[in-house]
Point group: C2
Chain length 244, copies 2
Amino acid sequence: MQKATAEKSDPIAAQLAPVGRETVQDRVYSELRRALIGGLFEPSQILTIRGLADALMTSTMPVREALGRLITEKALEALPNRSVRVPPITLDRMDDLLRARILIEGEAIALAATRMNSRQIATIEGMLGEWDEMRALKHKKDVDREVTLNQTFHFEIYRACGSAVLIPMIESLWLQSGPCIRVAIYAFSEAGEVDTAHYHRTIVKAIATQDAKEARDALVADISRPFTFLRSKLEAEAKKGLSA
Amino acid sequence: MQKATAEKSDPIAAQLAPVGRETVQDRVYSELRRALIGGLFEPSQILTIRGLADALMTSTMPVREALGRLITEKALEALPNRSVRVPPITLDRMDDLLRARILIEGEAIALAATRMNSRQIATIEGMLGEWDEMRALKHKKDVDREVTLNQTFHFEIYRACGSAVLIPMIESLWLQSGPCIRVAIYAFSEAGEVDTAHYHRTIVKAIATQDAKEARDALVADISRPFTFLRSKLEAEAKKGLSA
DNA sequence: TCAATGCAAGTGTGATCACAAATCAAATAA
DNA sequence: TTATTTGATTTGTGATCACACTTGCATTGA
């Protein structure tokens, strides 16, 4: 018995989970994704293959392939010089991203609202408590946890929409808007924003009652907020720079 | 003067277009894309790096990176065995793809309908003539030209929507539905379908009058047709296979 | 005859090297 | 001092190699 496929007749193999051989390239890719969505890289920052390979303690090979993948999903940008950077923020691009996210994530949540079972609803309902918890002990700006929790919440919903086509597109959109969002969340945090979870509560309520329209509306409000906030901030800076 | 950047002061350089150094990887990627959208690969077909490298007369390096990129945009599929294949067709996946295409391409054409100038409209209007031409001399099934013309027509419109976010997503969707479409077009051709350009005329008319809603409706009808056709065909086969 | 074993060919992954292009800095000339 | 040039370093790209895993086929055993 050296076959890799688990057979029902084998009582031992039945309890063993497949080990799943993750390649180095996959780890590099995941790591860069995480950094991008979390906004750890600044817009317009240039990334080099050898630099990342050193930082990730691997050779250049897995890095260059991971970069290539991120470039095709527009999470990174290939300059004509053949160097790669994280795309800069422009107002047009922000509007473009927001419109696409409203369109696609709105559709996904509308689908999910009619398909989530009580167990899944309980999961996202439980997450609301974590926001309360974070707000209670707001001694330090825990931006990282905020970002992660927000991501988990949204994708728990999107995953329930049951579309293997829409979900990767949403991931791509988050990858592209990650650097912007981070800036916005920092700005929120400085501006003393308090109730970041308000729309999330509305979303949970709407999904619990299978109200697709209200879920979509609340989602649109939720994802629009950081964009409009950042937009007004950028416009103010542009005006100031113009007058100076 | 050995600087590569064109300077305004140089009257010769001003007339020269940048030559654009395309890498081997880019050519491989484009070639595989073309093959995929055109449906040259069959669903479930397994692709090997060395096999493609031989066929494209290059080393394995550019091929493996191109394959990696195509896998991330779901144009190809990575099996747990680490071999890669073109994704098989299932009814669920077809419905999923069609819904996403209606959502996103519908939005793109609605945007384009309000933004295309008379020059762009004249371009797509001119393409209608090519369909008439093809229908006139229908001595052989020129599926390749049909596919190419259809693609050019649609993307001429999508390009005018002005969204740098939506267009790559539409390209990804075409990449994913390419293998299905080819099968459907062959089936159309066998079934003696005549007026493949009917909805295209409606689309041009709607755009010329800036009627976004009618343009969207006609587009939905246009892209739904091959899917519903293929769906009924697959269902018939499934039923036949079941009774046999 | 059929299933299990063992060997050989094929395949993906990662590392390393060679080369060309780009970038940066110091040196030189106006 | 400023602009240009020259040279050294850095960087991306492609080729090749080594290794591990998978697959397929022939051999061996019952």
